[in-house]
Structure formats: structure tokens, C-alpha cells
């Protein structure tokens, strides 16, 4: 019968590869012990898929198909380039026979993504390199995509990636999940990388795809380490932050403060997913990401700004401040104190915080001063906050607040 072909078009194939390639590349790096070869092999498999899938249709398990096809192409490359017998034998360990056409649908490929993520975020690599490698290898982004997400020239990003891969090879950064003693410190580096990717997508320009990618990676990490409260905490924190994105800006682009946001615009699907993640039992006690997620969850649970359970939020900030005694946490805790004990008590807590160059400090101070009737000081603090505002949306909001007091 003549009609549209049964299989996916090239754009759909690209999406499937990006979705599946992290798992495939992790398995291939394990098999070949060589990142570049694994990347080349995936690229070869992509070329085969572009040729076959549109006519033959999508294989029943595309991920397994990609891994098997890429592995076979990788072995072909080793043979052509005579990189040595040893690699071929290692590759044969990846399920199936050395020679070729094993049935991809009967193969169960071990999930090696945890090794991959710990390798990408190894502390011997710079934070920039960790971020770039994670997006490239685990997220399946192309080098130009990684470059544009971080506003870096493509050439620079290419060099950064190849330098990082060379260091992994030469210094023998292990392809392994760290042992129990190193795990807490190593996991916190992984979490920091994912959070940095998310926050990079939050900037004034706003890169929705980058935020989605960070959430996808956090979901993978959480599914691979279900007992880790901080992996769950980071995922929930991102989901709840993302859920509120739609209510953050008014139609004219002015920032809307949390208390005044239209809660109907929040993404209930993400809020529910976050609640599910936070409800799962975890092994040990909370860390900073989980506490921040729980604070965000209290905000999203309230039907309106006035219904917020500030007592609970203050309790969570007390815990957070004990774990992470930074001026920014102290500032956020003071905002909760204002709701529980009044603006005067909160204002006292701001004294002595060294945050003079930090816009939210002056914005919070301005709000507290306004509420206790010290209008002139409040207006000055709003002006200072507006000067320091990182985006136009915030500058407009703060400017408007300041001028209502002046009037």
C-alpha cells in the first residue's frame, strides 16, 4: 500500500537518539574503554538508523538496537584501524557474540550510566569540563548545542571537551562508581553539576531546553540512586522551581513575587511528581537540596500566599542554616522570620549579613522597612536593589515598588 512510510522521520530519530544515547554510550565506554570510539560508534549507528528506520519502522526496543548496532560498528572500526585484539575481546563481553548480528531485542544491557556520570563529574576535572562532558556524553547534546547553552564559541567548547577526554585517558580517571568513603563528596559534585546546568537555563535569557535536560538527568540519577535523599531532593527542587516558572512574570515582563503569583498557572504535573519523589523513603538524613525542596513544596502546597505554613518553612530554614551557614541562607531564613515573628525581628537578623552586593538582600530589607513604616529608608533600599537587579524583569518590579513609596 502506498502512503507515508511506516517509520520515524530524521527529526524523530534524532530525538530518540538523544533520549537513548546516554545509556548506550555508557555501555560502549564500558565495553571499549575509549570515549571517542564510543562516540564514533553511536554516530555510525545513527547513520544506519537514518537509512533504515524510515522504511523499516522503529525497532521494538530502540535503545537496545542502538547499543548493539553501535557496538558492532565500533568493532568494525577497531578492525579497520587495527587498534588491537584486546579491545575486540573486551567488546565481546558486552552481551552477544563477537560476530555481529545478535538479536538486539533479546539483549539485556547493563545500565552503566552511574559510572558515566561519576566519571564526567570527577573532581580531577574542572567544573566547566564536568558540565560540558555531562551534557555531551550523558545528555547526548552535540558540541555546538553545549557551546550555545553556555555562550561559548563552538571551537572553544570542542577544545574543552577534547582536553577533558584526553585527561580522562591519560590520567586514567576511573570508569567506576566511587566507594562508600568517597561517595558523599563525589555525589555532591554530581549534584552541583546538575544544579549548575539547571540554573544556567534560568538566566535572564531563559533556556527551557537546558532546564528540561537538567531535570531529565536528575531523574536518571535519582532512579539509579533511589536511596540517596540528596538525589531525590535535587530532582524535587528542580521540578518545583520549574513548576512555578509560568507564574514568575507578568504579561509586560515584570517579575511577580511569590505571594502574588497566580497559582493556577503553576504546573501541577511537576508539583505532583516532586511530591512523589519526596515521599519515597530514603536511607539517611536530609541535606541542603532536600531541605530546599521541602521548603519549595510548602510554598506550592499553599492555596494562596496567605495560606502558606510559615512556621514549617522557618523550621526547615533552621535545619538548612545549621547544615549550610551561609549569609544567603540566613537572609532567606530572615524572610520566614518576618512572617512568623514580624518584620522588626527579621530586620534585626539582616544586620551584619555581608551581602551588600546582593540584590535580594536589599529587596528583602526594603520590604521589611516598608512594613514597619520607615518609608524613606525603604525607598533607598529599593533603589539599591534595582541597581543590582540581574534582569530587566526584576529591575522593573523593584523600581515600581520603590516609586509607590516615594509617592
Amino acid at each position: 500500500m502506498v502512503g507515508s512510510p511506516p517509520g520515524p522521520d530524521p527529526a524523530a530519530i534524532g530525538r530518540i537518539f538523544r533520549e537513548e544515547s546516554g545509556r548506550s554510550i555508557a555501555a560502549l565506554i564500558r565495553a571499549f574503554g575509549d570515549i571517542d570510539l564510543a562516540e564514533d560508534a553511536i554516530q555510525d549507528a545513527f547513520a544506519v538508523a537514518i537509512e533504515r528506520w524510515p522504511d523499516e519502522g522503529l525497532p521494538p526496543r530502540p535503545g537496545a538496537w542502538i547499543t548493539t548496532t553501535a557496538r558492532n560498528r565500533g568493532i568494525d572500526r577497531i578492525r579497520r584501524e587495527s587498534r588491537g585484539r584486546e579491545l575486540i575481546e573486551e567488546a565481546a563481553m558486552l552481551g552477544g557474540e563477537e560476530d555481529g548480528d545478535t538479536d538486539p531485542d533479546s539483549e539485556a544491557v547493563a545500565d552503566e550510566r552511574l559510572r558515566l556520570i561519576f566519571m564526567c563529574c570527577h573532581p580531577a576535572l574542572s567544573r566547566e569540563a564536568q558540565v560540558a562532558l555531562t551534557l555531551r556524553l550523558l545528555g547526548g547534546l552535540t558540541t555546538p548545542e553545549v557551546a550555545s547553552a553556555f555562550l561559548v564559541a563552538e571551537r572553544t567548547m570542542g577544545q574543552r571537551l577534547s582536553r577533558a577526554k584526553r585527561k580522562i585517558r591519560e590520567a586514567r580517571i576511573p570508569y567506576a562508581v566511587p566507594g562508600e568513603a568517597e561517595l558523599p563528596a563525589r555525589l555532591s559534585a554530581v549534584l552541583a553539576v546538575l544544579y549548575l546546568i539547571y540554573n544556567a537555563g534560568l538566566g535572564p535569557e531563559g533556556d527551557r531546553e537546558l532546564r528540561d535536560e537538567a531535570i531529565r538527568l536528575a531523574r536518571i540519577l535519582q532512579s539509579l540512586m533511589p536511596g540517596e535523599p540528596e538525589a531525590a531532593g535535587l530532582l524535587a527542587l528542580m521540578l518545583l522551581t520549574e513548576a512555578r516558572q509560568a507564574g514568575r512574570l507578568a504579561e509586560d515582563g515584570t517579575l511577580v513575587p511569590l505571594a502574588e503569583q497566580d497559582r493556577r498557572r503553576w504546573d501541577q504535573g511537576r508539583i505532583a511528581e516532586a511530591a512523589g519523589v519526596l515521599a519515597q523513603p530514603t536511607g539517611h538524613r536530609s541535606g541542603p537540596y532536600r531541605l530546599q525542596a521541602e521548603i519549595a513544596a510548602v510554598h506550592t502546597a499553599a492555596v494562596g500566599g496567605e495560606a502558606t505554613d510559615w512556621g514549617r518553612i522557618l523550621g526547615l530554614y533552621d535545619e538548612l542554616l545549621a547544615l549550610a551557614p551561609t549569609p544567603v541562607v540566613a537572609l532567606n531564613r530572615a524572610v520566614a522570620v518576618a512572617e512568623v515573628r514580624g518584620p522588626g525581628a527579621a530586620l534585626e537578623l539582616l544586620e551584619g549579613l555581608e551581602l551588600d552586593g546582593y540584590c535580594p538582600f536589599h529587596a528583602a530589607r526594603a520590604d521589611l522597612l516598608r512594613r514597619i513604616g520607615r518609608g524613606e529608608e525603604a525607598a533607598a533600599a529599593y533603589r539599591r536593589a534595582a541597581e543590582l537587579a540581574p534582569s530587566e524583569a526584576e529591575r522593573r518590579y523593584l523600581g515600581a515598588r520603590g516609586s509607590t513609596i516615594d509617592a
Partner: protein, 120 residues
């Protein structure tokens, strides 16, 4: 296995406190115990402590004639004080030796793999 150079650097930022005779003895004992453990685990290939940069001499024969000058190579802030050459499974293994050595000697350590010694 891969071979790594663990180089011990003196730096103005990490100048150790002056030590008493007894403290020096204790430090030597700790270093010896660590080296014994490295040997026992077949990790230690070689180790050495260097004399100070005050006694260094630079020889340059690149320009046709031999120029011999007093002093260290360059006015760098950090100087190589000594080194260990260890055999390790991977970077994490080498880093854990480096961490323990740094604790013992009270100085930071740079870890680099030797080129062309992969595999085994």
C-alpha cells in the same frame, strides 16, 4: 596498572610551621611507615627528597655553547622538594596515595601519569 609521579611541592602558601626535634622525628616515622605500606602493596617504584633550590645549577647547551648558571631554573613560587613514583590501578588509587603523603609531609602534591605506560 599505570605509573604516576607524585611531586611534592614547597610553596610560600604552604610553608610548614617550624618543627621541634621530636616533631621532626615523628614526621619521619610517619613518612617511613607510609613508604613501608606502599612497598608492601607493591605500589612504590621510587622516592627521593631533593636538596634546596639554593644548591641548584642550570645547564643550557641549547645555544651551541654551554652556559652554566647558579640557582633554580626559574623564579617560580613553587619548587619541587621531592617525589614518589607509584604504580596504581587508576587515578583514584594514585590520588589516595597522594592524599596520605600530603597529610604526612604537610605539603601539596601534584599527581601526573607517566606517558606511554598504560596497560599491563
Amino acid at each position: 596498572m599505570t605509573e604516576y609521579l607524585l611531586s611534592v611541592h614547597t610553596s610560600p602558601d604552604h610553608r610548614p610551621e617550624p618543627m621541634s626535634e621530636q616533631q621532626m622525628q615523628e614526621q619521619m616515622q610517619r613518612v617511613e611507615a607510609l613508604e613501608a605500606e606502599m612497598k608492601e602493596r607493591d605500589a612504590l617504584i621510587s622516592s627521593a627528597r631533593l636538596t634546596g633550590t639554593d644548591s641548584a645549577t642550570v645547564v643550557d647547551a641549547t645555544g651551541g655553547e654551554v652556559i652554566t648558571t647558579d640557582g633554580p631554573f626559574a623564579e617560580a613560587k613553587e619548587h619541587l622538594a621531592g617525589f614518589y613514583i607509584v604504580r596504581a590501578a587508576d587515578l583514584d588509587d594514585a590520588l589516595s596515595w597522594a592524599q596520605r603523603t600530603s597529610e604526612c609531609v604537610g605539603m601539596p602534591i601534584e599527581v601526573r601519569a607517566f606517558a606511554g605506560m598504560r596497560g599491563a
